[in-house]
């Protein structure tokens, strides 16, 4: 197997859905909501993207309907977890299963298909060539010619990173996650910021679904997210809910997926390629906790609803103290 531009290209493509979802997860994490419904929300996005593109006749109708549908779906989590104070983990488990059942049900009632819907007339996202970059020897083939959502995901990393570290909105969001009582007493509405975080994460999961169903492939099949939402959850943990950290973790998974896919073409059993990202995820989590344990810090992923704690952020980021 050679390490070439095409490998980077497919790694970046595989990265995109995970990155979008993980950014959404990171926002929720920062706001103090442990969101493990990324998988189901992404699946809703996939279905809405295909439905919108098919009936709307335009791929952008598909993308917009994916975003809206995923936001409506995540509104269920927001109402349940924030307004009604229900256990987010139980809600998310139910939401993930609701997404699987609902998309399967709608696939049958709307398209009359079982399992998979794909059609040559279904419009997918067209590749965008970046002028100037495309003629650069190696980088051109690796970075140019992706779907527009791939570039949007990179922009999203930058925007969210700046938002969280520099903008008052992001600082308040972090405050809501780290010390809700303090935020409330200073007049910051905890509920409003959590709603915003959950709905934004819904929109990002919608984009993830759109990229998956209209970018990576052009079809919908039942349960097509296949655990990517859970890998995104792990990416949030590994990246400590920092946009850049999430990006790095996502790149790791994208590379593993691309390499696995490549090796599969060279005779490795498909099952090994399927398993590779999950094994990689576990190994990465293991190593991350090991090295951190040696330094005496707490493990990265803790199911507390607030994974990163204030002091750790003070160490790991250069942002001004809020």
């Amino acid at each position: 197997m050679s390490f070439d531009a095409e490998l980077i290209f497919s790694a970046l493509r595989a990265l995109t859905p995970i990155l979008f979802a993980a950014l959404g997860g990171a926002l929720c994490e920062r706001a103090g909501v442990f969101n493990v419904s990324l998988e189901g929300t992404m699946l809703i996005g996939c279905f809405a993207a295909v439905t919108g593109s098919w009936f709307g006749g335009s791929v952008w109708v598909g993308v917009i309907s994916a975003v809206l549908a995923a936001m409506v779906f995540s509104l269920l989590l927001a109402i349940g977890a924030v307004t009604l104070g229900a256990d987010a983990v139980v809600l998310c488990i139910a939401l993930n299963l609701l997404a699987v059942g609902l998309t399967g049900f709608l696939l049958r009632t709307v398209f009359g298909k079982q399992g998979t819907f794909g059609d040559p007339d279904l419009k997918g996202l067209q590749p965008v060539d970046i002028p100037g970059l495309e003629s650069v020897p190696f980088l051109g083939r690796a970075l140019s010619g992706h779907s527009p959502l791939v570039y949007l995901s990179w922009v999203a990393v930058a925007v969210i990173a700046v938002l969280l570290s520099r903008h008052p909105w992001g600082v308040r969001l972090r405050g809501v996650g780290e010390a809700p009582e303090a935020a409330q007493s200073l007049g910051v509405s905890v509920a409003r910021y959590r709603y915003a975080a959950i709905l934004t994460s819904g929109a990002l999961c919608g984009l993830a679904g759109a990229q998956l169903a209209l970018g990576n492939v052009t079809l919908f099949s039942e349960n097509m997210t296949a655990g990517r939402g859970w890998i995104a959850v792990v990416a949030v943990m590994l990246g400590r809910a920092l946009p850049i950290g999430v990006l790095l973790a996502g790149i790791l998974f994208g590379l593993v997926e691309a390499v696995g896919f490549r090796l599969q073409g060279e005779g490795m059993p498909q099952q090994a390629a399927d398993a590779a990202p999950y094994v990689m995820t576990l190994v990465a989590l293991f190593l991350a906790t090991r090295s951190r344990a040696r330094r005496g810090a707490a493990p990265p992923g803790r199911l507390t609803g607030r994974i990163p704690r204030p002091r750790r952020f003070a160490r790991t980021t250069s942002e001004p103290q809020s």
Partner: protein, 429 residues
């Protein structure tokens, strides 16, 4: 729930009849019943939306599940669904969520089929060995997830699920390559030798009913779970941990050891289900046959519905099995896709999860009723970082703990969110 019912009964000790009536009222207005009814109403709206008559559709669910043709299927479906519901309820009782049922299930099936195919012993002994091998395989895999949590700090929820995927890939590979039946177009193993199988119950006419004696093993597992939960110190520790992990920790419960044991028990029961399934018809392992129907997820929802109480879990598992099988009947009768039943199952849990927020004192309904005064009341968002049950500690004390003073043990105390359900006591009964 039982506690609240008992409380009301003590307040009005006016004869056994009145007490009994209170019990009935408690059951009718229990969150579980309300959630199920709410989900059924929502399902009726969806059915009407697709143009089907809700009453006909629900009627066909009932006849499909309990009719003379359906009841055997429903009982057959109970083996994996009730089995996995029990398996996942065991850790849930202590507030631990095992999402890796699929991996433990298929590994159990693979171990059993391997023993069944290659064991040199006679039929009956081979069957027992195969069942034990299945339990061991599932249990060890689940224990690995527990070790990842207790030693490496990976949340159980995530570690168990992530371990599940490689297990499924591995089993799929084994079935499709080394163990593949020669010349078969279907990805399946060879048929188990004659005699290596769990017999089926015979119907009156002598024909097989499709219900293997495996169901006896599941009932046995439920009985063991019931006795351990109600009558032993271990069961008490588990329930106490579910009610308040920190408190249990202070009282001397070794959280890491408890997690390991519960996960081993959970995984071995899931593995047993896998073994029972491959030792029944068609007496071989078919790739995907164990995971495609989503037994794990249905089972998890059943366990959540019953708050992991032993009898309630069996009842909820039976209910969901009937709903699943009835869904096929409904599809034949009314052309409504059977996926609707999966939607309903998830919706029941959604309603159940938010019930407290709607109905309890100070909940949404009450605040709504109070109008402007309600707005002045302490906002509910402050509670949202905290589980209803208080399994997850409130935000302030945790943030106040100095980082250096948070060793692994403290992390374990708080490391896993328990569902609010177990805090309710024996919910489903």
């Amino acid at each position: 729930m039982t506690a609240s019912k008992a409380g009301t009964a003590i307040e009005h000790p006016s004869g056994p009849a009145a007490r009994w009536a209170l019990h009935v009222r408690g059951a009718v207005f229990s969150p579980v019943t309300v959630s199920i009814v709410a989900a059924l109403i929502l399902g009726a709206i969806i059915l009407a939306g697709t143009g089907a008559d809700p009453l006909t559709a629900y009627g066909s669910v009932l006849t499909g599940a309990f009719g003379s043709e359906g009841i055997g299927d429903t009982l057959g479906e109970c083996i994996p669904i009730v089995g996995l519901a029990l398996a996942l309820a065991i850790p849930l009782r202590a507030g631990l969520v095992n999402l890796g049922g699929d991996g433990q299930l298929v590994l159990g099936g693979l171990a059993a089929v391997s023993v069944g195919l290659y064991s040199p012993f006679p039929g009956a002994i081979t069957v027992i060995l195969a069942l034990l091998a299945g339990m061991l395989a599932g249990g060890l895999w689940a224990a690995l997830a527990a070790v990842l949590e207790t030693r490496c700090g990976v949340p159980l929820l995530v570690s168990s699920l992530l371990l599940s995927y490689p297990a499924m890939s591995f089993v799929s590979y084994m079935v499709r390559f080394p163990l593949l039946q020669k010349g078969s177009g279907i990805p399946q193993t060879d048929r188990l030798p004659e005699g290596v199988k769990l017999p089926e119950f015979a119907a009156g006419s002598g024909a097989g009913t499709g219900v293997s004696v495996g169901i006896v093993l599941i009932v046995l597992a439920a009985v063991v779970y019931f006795v351990v939960d109600h009558r032993t110190a271990a069961g008490y520790e588990v329930r106490m941990t579910g009610l308040g992990a920190r408190f249990a920790g202070y009282a001397g419960v070794d959280r890491a050891r408890l997690t390991l044991r519960l996960m081993f028990a959970s995984g071995s029961l899931a593995g047993l289900v896998g073994a029972i399934t491959v030792l029944g018809f068609p007496y071989r392992m078919v790739d995907g046959a164990l995971t495609t129907p989503g037994y794990t997820w249905t089972g998890l929802l059943a366990a959540l519905l019953a708050a992991a109480s032993p009898l309630g879990t069996v009842a909820a598992g039976f209910f969901f099995s009937a709903l699943t099988i009835g869904g096929f009947g409904m599809e034949q009768e009314t052309a409504v896709p059977q996926q609707l039943t999966a939607v309903l199952q998830a919706v029941v849990i959604l309603f159940l999860a938010v019930r407290g927020g709607i109905f309890r004192k100070g909940g949404w309904l009450h605040r709504l009723g109070r109008g402007p005064d309600g707005a002045a009341a302490p906002p509910p968002d402050l509670e949202t970082g905290v589980l209803e049950s208080g399994v997850l500690e409130p935000a302030v004390p945790e943030a106040a703990v100095p980082e250096a003073a948070v060793p692994e043990a403290a992390v374990l105390d708080t490391g896993v969110a328990g569902p609010p359900a177990p805090a309710r006591g024996d919910g489903g009964k």
